[in-house]
């Protein structure tokens, strides 16, 4: 046997399936007649399997598409305070998990135009756009519902409008409108009479239009924005979902994650 025929490099290439069929066959024949070569190949297989095993771990707090809730719960876990650096990491992870879980789970990315939505949401998008235009023309008239205040302040958005809006003959929807720096504008619509069932948060991104919808405690909620940073919007949507679900102000960790997710709006 030539020494180079059973070199470590060749044996490694053999267990990796990187030898040519002819060379692999030669080495296999050698392993049959040489127990030491066979044992070395076995060791290499064990080493390879052991390292490959590292790739079987579950990534952190990641969600399968049909299980969106735990990701946001994980993101909202209390933040360790003993270590400032670790705290920053956790916050960034919380935001990252929110956004990632959203994209892997809830977010429905759609190609640009045309924007196709069901009638109710289309009316709400139109309502958002009409309010945004009116804001430019007339200025703000602030109102401050308690349950939204802390959460939206943490996002860098200021409540400037809260009023019922009627679409059609029966549908009356509460419209909360927010503005932030750099032309960030966001609307939250709350529609009663949605039934007892809950619907999980669903985010749709169509070009510059971002919408989120969910249903909880008999109310249907929609969040509408344009040109907002995607991760920021998803984080806000998750937080809004949580406060409407819990009917309580956002927790400290969630507010911190909202602050961390602040990004400029592009228009």
């Amino acid at each position: 046997m030539r020494p180079e025929m059973a070199s470590d490099a060749r044996l490694s290439a053999y267990v990796d399936g990187e030898l040519s069929p002819e060379d692999a066959a030669d080495l296999a024949r050698l392993a049959v007649i040489d127990p030491e070569v066979a044992a070395r190949i076995a060791v290499l297989h064990q080493l390879k399997a052991g390292v490959a095993d590292l790739g079987h771990g579950e990534p952190p707090d990641l969600q399968m598409p049909d299980l969106p809730m735990p990701a946001r719960r994980a993101a909202a876990r209390p933040v360790p305070r003993a270590n400032g650096g670790r705290r920053g990491l956790v916050l960034r992870l919380a935001v990252a998990v929110l956004a990632l879980a959203a994209v892997l789970g809830w977010v429905n990315l759609q190609p640009g135009d045309p924007v196709q939505t069901e009638p109710g949401l289309a009316a709400q998008i139109a309502g958002h756009d009409a309010w945004a235009r009116a804001l430019e023309r007339d200025g703000a008239s602030p109102l401050a519902p308690e349950w939204l205040e802390g959460m939206m302040r943490a996002t860098g958005l200021r409540l400037v409008h809260a009023a019922p809006v009627r679409w059609g003959e029966q549908t009356e929807v509460m419209h909360y409108a927010f503005v932030g720096a750099n032309n960030c504008r966001l609307s939250l619509f709350e529609q009663p009479g949605a039934g007892v069932g809950e619907l999980a948060l669903s985010v749709t991104i169509q070009a510059e239009l971002l919408t989120a919808r969910w249903q909880v405690h008999g109310f249907a909620y929609s969040l509408v924005a344009r040109n907002m940073d995607r991760e920021r919007f998803v984080t806000i949507a998750a937080a809004a979902h949580d406060v409407t679900h819990a009917r309580a102000p956002a927790g400290a960790a969630l507010i911190a994650s909202l602050q961390a997710a602040r990004q400029r709006c592009s228009a």
Partner: protein
């Protein structure tokens, strides 16, 4: 732009990608951070590859580049670029026999004692499932260099395992008795 197809590809590779991050980093928190950063940047990338093979290579390269950025930031890039293990003569040799029947936990522990460069290339092949040609493309190295590094990395692991007490797996013939 990131679309549903990229989302599906990411979903397929996420475990291996996280495994690669764990292989590059020495602690889980750093690996999680690296993994999340890579995923977010992948989502935000304006023109990700539209071919599954290219996208997979691109994604692992993205994560690796982030890791290198962190090494540079922490002034530890030299540990990768001038790794003495890469220049050392190839003295170690894999040996067979009963002493080499080790459990996977021990293998993993030995893996984490390897140099950064050895963990890098070995993880791409064993965890990422890349061929030598793909690893060579990703690392911008000749194929022969990848082959040599893989072999040296495994030899180094075998040496580490030979030097530390490990729990032996039941040998095949013992199971048969």
């Amino acid at each position: 732009m990131f679309d549903a197809q990229h989302q599906a590809w990411l979903e397929e590779m996420r475990r291996k990608l996280f495994g690669y991050a764990c292989a590059l980093c020495t602690d889980t928190a750093s690996a999680e951070d690296l993994y999340q950063d890579a995923m977010l940047r992948a989502m935000a990338a304006p023109n990700p590859p539209d071919d599954p093979r290219r996208y997979r290579l691109w994604m692992f390269r993205l994560l690796r580049n982030l890791w290198i950025d962190r090494l540079r930031r922490d002034r530890r890039l030299d540990e990768l670029l001038n790794d003495p293990a890469l220049a050392a003569p190839d003295e170690a040799r894999i040996t067979g026999g009963e002493q080499s029947a080790v459990n996977r936990l021990a293998v993993r522990q030995a893996f984490m004692q390897l140099s950064k460069a050895h963990r890098d290339v070995l993880a791409l092949v064993d965890i990422g499932g890349f061929s030598y040609d793909e690893a060579a493309e990703l690392l911008d190295l000749p194929r022969g260099t990848v082959m040599s590094r893989i072999s040296r990395a495994r030899s180094a692991m075998a040496s580490i395992l030979a030097d530390v007490p490990v729990v032996a797996l039941p040998l095949r013939r013992e199971r048969g008795q």
